[in-house]
Symmetry: C2
Subunit: 363 residues, 2 copies
Amino acid sequence: MHTTAIFSFDSLKNLAFQVFIKMGCPSAQATLAAEALVAADLRGIDSHGVARLSGYVRLWEAERINPTPNIRIVHETPSTATVDGDAGLGLVVAPKAMEIAIAKAKIAGTGWVAVRNSNHFGIAGYHALMAVKNDMIGIAMTNASPLVAPTFAVERMLGTNPIAVAIPAQEQPPFVADFATTTAANGKLEILQRKNEDAPLGWIQDKKGESSINANELKQGGALLPLGSDREHGSHKGYCLGSIVDIFSAVFSGANYGPWVPPFVSFLPLSPDPVGLGLGHFFGAMRIDAFRPADEFKINMDKWISRFRETKPAEGYDKVLIPGDIEREMEAERLENGIPVIEAVVTDLRNLIKKMGLDPTIL
Amino acid sequence: MHTTAIFSFDSLKNLAFQVFIKMGCPSAQATLAAEALVAADLRGIDSHGVARLSGYVRLWEAERINPTPNIRIVHETPSTATVDGDAGLGLVVAPKAMEIAIAKAKIAGTGWVAVRNSNHFGIAGYHALMAVKNDMIGIAMTNASPLVAPTFAVERMLGTNPIAVAIPAQEQPPFVADFATTTAANGKLEILQRKNEDAPLGWIQDKKGESSINANELKQGGALLPLGSDREHGSHKGYCLGSIVDIFSAVFSGANYGPWVPPFVSFLPLSPDPVGLGLGHFFGAMRIDAFRPADEFKINMDKWISRFRETKPAEGYDKVLIPGDIEREMEAERLENGIPVIEAVVTDLRNLIKKMGLDPTIL
């Protein structure tokens, strides 16, 4: 097993904030970005939190991230806007875009924002949850580096293209779905790679398109599989979902799509013939009282959640989960007891502190 | 193999029209319903077309379908509406609701319509495609009779809850995704039952929650599995998707949700303690020029489609498909050469003609 060190949410957030300040971000934007990034660690999606901080810095060093972006609306209607992120951190661009969606929804009932010229935005669920505080359903999605082969294909054409949907209730905590449109998220493969373990059949294929259990298959020309794994088990549906996320995020906005999406890792070159600007996101906010009185909606949502929680479990299982349960329980636990960070990431962060000339005592 | 008879699109549509007229539908609504129903046969989704006509009649006989509904908006904002279908045929209510979504989008950029007090609406893709002719993206979804167990559960809590998304292009035909949020649609199981064949592992589970290959498992307390099949292959994501469709369709609108959704078959009783009215749908229409100039969108959509069409196929496969390809090719083929209908369905239709007192020569 890995050695881990425990850090408080505030100390990791402060570290991220200091790093973003060193990159030249204005203080308010560094705060926004640090909060969004470390929300991943808090909610247990360790692959998307401080483990990626040095990756963001490398993108900034490669001049693919603009620390002082002019994030602006370039096209709009009463219920929609297209936003240019000016190559800013997705962690900053996304909350700004979600704010615009929420403001549109206040007036038009719903608000929908497509974003171009952005970068990776952390976890989709964080942005979707912004709407819930406003008695709205929040939707967030993004395209990402091409790692996924469509059904019947060997080429990597789509990212893991996650979708998040957050829905408010009254007494019950919100329903929060947040998932990659692949069978397994790339973060899960990375965990297996570190442990030197095999992957289950159905997660990845080799470069010929044969299903593989080699967790390192992506380094040898393989690909992640769309949700459903193979045609017989509905991989064409996962391919549809990933495609819809790609089109909403990038064809609506004017970002790069499909195989043209810029890679997260700075050592891979950008496409020589881009079809748009940066990568793309798509956000939605729907006022619950745009459809029926808010308390009616919430009472029924409580009933939906409590009925599903009472679903008879299969033998060997304690209970049926509501989307968001695991992450919410993790968040409460980690706020209380701190966030475990594996040694490799701690080392990476200490090197980053040194490289950025920060006070070594901050972590 | 089955004996099949071939009928023209027009003759099946006329049959459906005559049956809906006999049920008491006004002529314009009978036309709308017949067109929507037989679109399923045309597009190759035989389980949802004339094979279900006698099922709709039985629901009408059980007084669960109102042939002369007063379909009306009960709540609205600039970009949203909630529609009460007045227990009408979903095949009529759905196109009316989609028209409202399109009208809202013309003014507000997007339009979103939640529907309560409706019935089964045929294939989701038909309704989503209505938006495409207006240079809009169309979205359609519905909840349905509970047949699906959430991850870790044995109880049937969700329907196959399909989602359709139709996206216009310029030279290329539209992208049309239309899929159940389960690993396999119920129609595929029905085909196996008729052929007395086993199902692949991962489609269904038995009443204890064990994966099963028995295509008749649903009759013995089993359940369909969410897209992903099992936890290791992402069934929690399929469970999320089915839940989102249920909540958007019914908690927004005031319809029945989850295990309370009225069954399609008239011999099963309605829930004694309904949580809403009828079943629910959700529709969206998004003007493509609400995000960027329409021709820019379409040129990029053409590029998206043609690039994905050129994806290198895996060994043993000719080509990679774009969502909608199969149904569009089927539609062209069947418009030209007619629609094959299996003998069991032909017999069912002839009995229906007799029962409704229609001229036997119409089929």
